[in-house]
Symmetry: C2
Subunit: 356 residues, 2 copies
């Protein structure tokens, strides 16, 4: 057996790539997987041999704790390729820090930084052909950790698997979305796990979202669970409101994900001399702003969608349409972010991370 102290990755190669069968112009998000995956098991109190192997089904006990007690956290990242075949990730150190923050909140072990970055390097080099150049193309990279110990008592597991799988992607949301402001259901509680990318946070949103979808709204903007008076986040996106020329977004707290696109937008707003306030945003403020014409834009910010304009919201059975704005901030930030991500412009904050 190999020493458990090495972080050198074992690579199991495949002879045959699946890539020839893939229509990169017709990709459904998250359904096509690349040739390789990364995995590393935590056993006996330490992370074992990291491995890159062909993407394939795994074997796991039905009693694995992840199935019963939901110890599962993940990240979403994107790899981009420029016209010179260079591959970049966007602020991956933020994802690294956040997956360990999520893991800690769910009583899961932290993953070592060198394992994380060596894993990404090895994996993305092997899967490089899956990353297509050009704005709108990316490779969605999904690190995640699950509790694998076969034991069904309600306590933290002693064994885990860290994995990275990759899926080629086009833009996640293409059309502006219509949203519903939550009035009854909630995403997370004060003192809960809403700030973590915990698997259970997502399943909890599916049913309320399906009700919204039946009413013609693709997403929900969640409000605080105690009063439903303040707007928080959209589950897969943080939310920004433009009132006249000022941008406002909710502060981070233990209910709201500390979004990497969110913090990049805040930085870009500063870079563009756009007035931005990070503070509580009430439902009433936004309804009033819509009524008096000062609400110019609402948009979401997240890795999958990058920037997602919102064209209408509903609250208390009243629908508020948001008129199209010339010189929209959403377009500005999306262009600037994509240009940075695709190595088409300067990167003064060192957000690009090159895969070498």
């Amino acid at each position: 057996m190999l020493s458990t102290k090495t972080n050198e990755i074992v690579v199991v190669k495949t002879e045959t790539s699946k890539i020839e069968g893939i229509d990169f112009n017709n990709l459904t998000f998250g359904r096509t997987f690349t040739d390789y995956m990364f995995y590393c098991d935590f056993e006996n109190g330490e992370w074992q041999q990291p491995t890159v192997a062909p993407y394939q089904p795994m074997t796991i006990e039905p009693s694995a704790r992840v199935f019963h007690y939901g110890q599962a956290v993940f990240e979403g990242m994107k790899a981009y390729k420029d016209d010179n075949e260079k591959v970049f990730l966007f602020r991956p150190k933020e994802n690294f820090k956040r997956i360990n923050k999520s893991a800690a909140r769910l009583a899961m072990p932290e993953f070592p930084e060198d394992y994380f970055f060596n894993g990404l390097q090895t994996l993305l080099n092997l899967d490089s052909a899956w990353i297509k150049p050009g704005i709108g193309n990316s490779l969605y990279v999904r690190p995640f950790v699950i509790a694998t110990e076969p034991a069904i008592s309600a306590s933290p597991a002693a064994s885990y698997r860290f994995m990275i799988i990759c899926s080629p992607a086009k833009a996640y949301y293409t059309e502006p979305v219509r949203v519903l402001f939550a009035e009854k259901y909630s995403r997370s509680a004060d003192g809960g796990v809403g700030f973590a990318k915990a698997a259970g946070n997502y399943a909890a949103q599916f049913y309320p979202t399906s009700l919204a979808q039946k009413k013609g709204f693709q997403q929900i903007i969640w409000t605080d669970a105690s009063t439903h008076d303040y707007l928080e986040e959209a589950g897969t996106m943080n939310i920004f409101f433009r009132i006249n020329d000022k941008l406002v977004t909710a502060p981070n707290n233990d209910r709201i994900l500390d979004g990497i696109t969110r913090k990049s937008v805040i930085q870009l707003a500063n870079d563009n001399n756009i007035d931005i306030e990070v503070r509580r945003v009430s439902v009433n403020e936004i309804k009033e702003a819509s009524r008096n014409g000062s609400l110019k834009e609402i948009f979401g910010a997240g890795t999958a969608a990058v920037i997602s304009p919102i064209s209408a919201f509903e609250h208390s059975e009243e629908v508020f349409e948001i008129p199209t704005t010339k010189d929209s901030y959403a377009s500005l930030f999306k262009t600037q972010l994509l240009n940075i991500q695709h190595n088409l412009t300067d990167d003064k904050h060192n957000w690009r991370y090159e895969i070498k």
Copy 2:
């Protein structure tokens, strides 16, 4: 291929039982599994062929939605054997109803009642030798459902697996437990999934519970997330407080699990002419009752522990010891429940369900 419309179970037998190697006097809860398991897949909009097969690892895609978005619900039940080798479950129809209620909240398909009960019958007959007679012995039965579809977009899965696995058990908690009243962390939000047996609800409790354990408290009694002023449940148990001769317990709501042992205790209190109030219970009321000597008992009620006496609680850095009470309600209910479960007494509410 077999018709998908049959609910007749395919049984795959094993030649060798693992039972000879098991020390039934030294069982750690949830770590030993019986010879068989039940499973049934949901594909193309319907539940497929139900199967009982040897308990074994399963094959699943790393992209299965359960790992990423936490669509996973479960139940906990116990099978008991009387001295005539008859096997009984305790109120299994309640578990059946609840797993479907949990599933609906997580946008998962409901499981058919005949599949559920035929599966239990077939499985427990094959595993009957694993159920030992005698008070304190039981077979813990774990139905659960997981999202198996290999797709990492944040939306409900199209495919699922329903499974039942079984683990022989001794009593879950043997000693009275010391608990901490939650002041900072929360288990669930109004409008959230706290009432469901959703996997993610449990992982969220592990870290706060580990902090409590470092202070010498085995469990947390969760309070409402908005104010932390009202006592709710303990994560694996509902909670009862005895003030003088009156019993009080929190009402069900969308944050609190509708416990089967809880509702059985309420019924038994009525049967025993014990005054019981189902209403909000404030932290201050219980602290005051402890100070003035009227707090006689606190105990938890849940399938795993049945009845679990609590010997102390902490709040605001103050520890309140609960003196031992003669003629304790906890002992009374535990004895009455175990006698019903083990077929040692009348069953006037038809709580026993015989496996034939």
